[in-house]
């Protein structure tokens, strides 16, 4: 192009990496240095456009990048060294794969001449990460480095988003090569995701929906991934059709919890009305969800009398677990746009009376108040703690992350999400230790927002080292631990499945979380009295520093409602029915073999 173009485009591999990240709009990367990435770290040191957030464990880098990505819609970037750096990244990579989070993971590798020699900190990174990424590359030629990084960003964020790994040997980082801009890079011809749905199929779906007497919309994380416009279109569709709507764990916030058509989350710990609506409906419209086993319950009893529409960008999601009648392959945003337009164009819209009986059934199910619990004046009930936390954060720009377990389900049941991208949780993989680093990633992206990690006492200890990262980078995340001294969900399953033999689910040597917070330089708080809870929560929110809030809750509370293993949606265990006897016999011998 210009006379300086040639010289200006010659640089070292490490410089290419930084330039490529910049040209892909990266502002923050999460990482941990080591021998095989030192040239890249040296370049990071000599520039100011990209901020590096130093974690304390590579798993933390991955989850932080996931939280960053999920709360912004941008690609999360992590940088780790070879060998143990790369193997520690495997958990967040698989987590991102299962929850369709766009992630670019750059790994260092031993020099190309040493690959295969069992060199120090060598691991077959592309081999190890092949099944837990959408795609991965080992860069063997410095001139291909820029193109591969651009392609990595394209693949991570297009189609069904997911994690990718670019493994860069150290000699490639030192070698001089030519930089190619993203616009000039050649894209792989074999990867062409389809974003527009087939109009005939969408028309057929709209016509089916118009005949429905007992319709339900079943939405998932795909709506969030399709961007805020998709959530807007979903709300419009609900407004137009007046269909009741439920969502998976991953899709919470796409439709507001305060909306009048909201049924609450569905699935194993979902609401009675959501699961009954799924079971009894005659038309189910699945939008960006994947009929996961936590959602369907026993497959041969799943929604037996419905005709099903399934919108998904990934063709392999269609008919994977559940046979559907009208598959629509495409981006949820594009398909919803067409769907809304075609619904508006219907020559004759269904009368309101067509679904009146259905809504009456929904109201009777709602009246069951399946999330109800027995409150106490003496101990803090975990559900109560979350209700108070939700109340205290109303009207603020609040982002919630969670770890995995009972607290996660209670958070999903009780928090009430109004907007997309404000709820970060590990759904598919169920990774304990996700919440704290994810919260750090969210806080980096939204420095002014209130970011709370709703945690359990067991999960929080899986990535507790990231407290140090929070302090170093002034990330005032609030860790709200529902401390019941057990791995609560494990204990609940042992009670349900294994005669209440609580094998290894009691944490005997619990740290003093207040002192632990103080040891890191954060603020520690403690509460075990329901009367003091509101005041202490307000205090926690007011502190402009990382806080660990040790909220002591009832030790043996169970998370209900619950669809026991091997049961159908209409065989839910409700809180009022969950007597000790019912709990002990809830799962039969067959169900015990399942997870």
């Amino acid at each position: 192009m210009t006379d300086t173009a040639d010289n200006g485009n010659r640089m070292t591999g490490a410089e290419i990496v930084l330039r490529a990240l910049k040209d892909n709009g990266v502002e923050h990367i999460f990482g941990y240095p080591g021998g095989a990435v030192l040239p890249i770290y040296d370049e990071i040191f000599q520039q100011e456009d990209i901020q590096h957030i130093l974690v304390r464990h590579e798993q933390g880098a991955g989850h932080a990048a996931e939280g960053y990505a999920r709360s912004t819609g941008k690609v999360g970037v992590m940088l780790v060294t070879s060998g143990p750096g790369a193997t520690n990244a495997v958990t967040p990579l698989q987590d991102a794969l299962m929850d369709s989070i766009p992630l670019v993971c750059l790994t260092g590798q031993v020099p190309t001449t040493l690959i295969g020699s069992d060199a120090f900190q060598e691991a077959d990174t592309v081999g190890i990460t092949r099944p837990c990424t959408k795609h991965n590359w080992l860069v063997k030629n410095v001139d291909e480095l820029a193109g591969i990084i651009h392609e990595a960003f394209r693949i991570a964020q297009s189609g069904r988003p997911g994690p990718v790994v670019v493994d860069i040997p150290k000699d490639i980082q030192f070698a001089t090569g030519t930089y190619v801009a993203p616009s000039e890079a050649t894209a792989s011809k074999s990867y062409k995701p389809k974003v527009n749905g087939d109009l005939n199929a969408i028309q057929a779906a709209v016509e089916l929906m118009a005949t429905a007497r007992r319709p339900v919309l079943y939405t998932g994380g795909g709506v969030i991934n399709a961007g805020p416009e998709a959530s807007q279109l979903l709300r419009e569709l609900v407004e137009l059709t007046n269909f009741p709507i439920t969502s998976t764990l991953m899709g919470l916030g796409a439709y507001p919890a305060s909306g009048k058509n909201w049924l609450g989350m569905l699935g194993m710990h979902g609401s009675y009305e959501a699961n009954l609506a799924m079971h009894d409906c005659d038309v189910m419209v699945c939008i960006g969800a994947r009929f996961d086993d936590r959602i369907t319950g026993r497959l041969n009893a799943f929604s037996p009398n419905s005709r099903k529409v399934h919108i998904d960008i990934d063709p392999s999601s269609i008919n994977k677990n559940v046979r559907v009648d009208i598959p629509i392959i495409g981006d949820v945003g594009h398909v919803l746009e067409d769907m809304v337009r075609l619904w508006r164009a219907l020559p004759k819209k269904p009368e309101k009376a067509q679904t009146a009986d259905w809504w009456a059934s929904v109201e009777t199910w709602r009246a069951k108040k399946s999330f109800s619990y027995k409150n106490s004046n003496d101990v803090i009930m975990p559900q109560y703690a979350l209700e108070r936390l939700a109340e205290a954060t109303k009207g603020r720009d609040t982002y919630i992350t969670t770890e995995v377990g009972q607290h996660q389900m209670w958070a999903a049941q009780f928090f009430g999400f109004e907007e997309p991208n404000h709820w970060m949780t590990s759904g598919g993989l169920g990774t304990m230790g996700y919440g704290l680093p994810a919260a750090l990633g969210v806080q980096v992206a939204h420095p002014e927002a209130l970011v709370i990690d709703i945690a359990g006492d067991a999960s929080i200890q899986m990535c507790i080292q990231e407290m140090s990262c929070a302090i170093q980078h002034n990330l005032p995340v609030k860790i709200f631990i529902l401390n019941n001294q057990y791995m609560g969900m494990v204990r609940q399953w042992q009670q349900l499945l294994h005669g209440n033999r609580l094998s290894n689910s009691y944490t005997e040597a619990m740290p003093d979380f207040v002192k632990l917070a103080e040891a890191y330089g954060a603020v520690g708080m403690y509460c075990d009295d329901p009367k003091e809870l509101d005041g202490k929560i307000a205090e926690m929110i007011a502190v402009n520093a990382p806080v660990i809030f040790d909220c002591r809750v009832a030790n043996l509370a169970n998370c209900f409602p619950m669809i026991p293993s091997g049961k159908a949606h209409n065989e839910m265990l409700l809180p009022e029915d969950a007597t000790d006897d019912a709990v002990a016999t809830a799962i039969d011998a067959k169900g015990r073999q399942l997870v």
């Binding site: 592309v126 081999g127 092949r130 099944p131 959408k134 795609h135 080992l138 693949i155 792989s188 011809k189 074999s190 990867y191 086993d293 936590r294 369907t296 319950g297 026993r298 497959l299 041969n300 990934d314 063709p315 392999s316 269609i318 008919n319 994977k320 046979r323 293993s565 091997g566 011998a589 067959k590 015990r592 073999q593 399942l594 997870v595």
Partner: protein, 190 residues
Amino acid sequence: MNAHQQPTGSAYFISQETAKVESHTLSVLVSNEPGVLARVIGLFSGRGYNIESLTVSETEHESHLSRITIVTNGTPLVLEQIKAQLERIVPVFRVVDLTVRAGQLGQERPIEREVALIKVAGNGESRAEALRLADAFQAKVVDATVGHFIFEITGKSSKIDQFVAVVKPLGLIEVCRTGIAAMNRGPQGM
């Protein structure tokens, strides 16, 4: 108590699979880049699909294309899922279920051929008998000493199975088979 019961291998539900298992031949056109075969094989082992036969070779050198032929089996739903999963792999261009395609074209099966090298050692009458059988099966002699033959045979897998079976008593030493190469009949490409 339940220790003697077999794990179901399934998370969350037990379903009795009643659909019939079929054997299908898939043709997979891939970009010839490092690791692409590992991606395909890893998909099969990772998701518990079967591979009965697998062949791979570069077919179009200039465009860096390789063609993988996989014979697999499963219920129609599983076969559909295998095809969809293969298509998710980034360097995969196309996946064609040749068996389904043959059906659509009104044919019984795609053309499926295999090459085998078969070493038979022996003297006297059994040696003469091996040569007679080779002639009947149109197998070629590609190497010989006074004590052995190596035959090259091309054909359907069933034909090779049969040849191997009949020469076995005559001093069969070793067999090497390529796996199936397959294509649909007619003028159209995959």
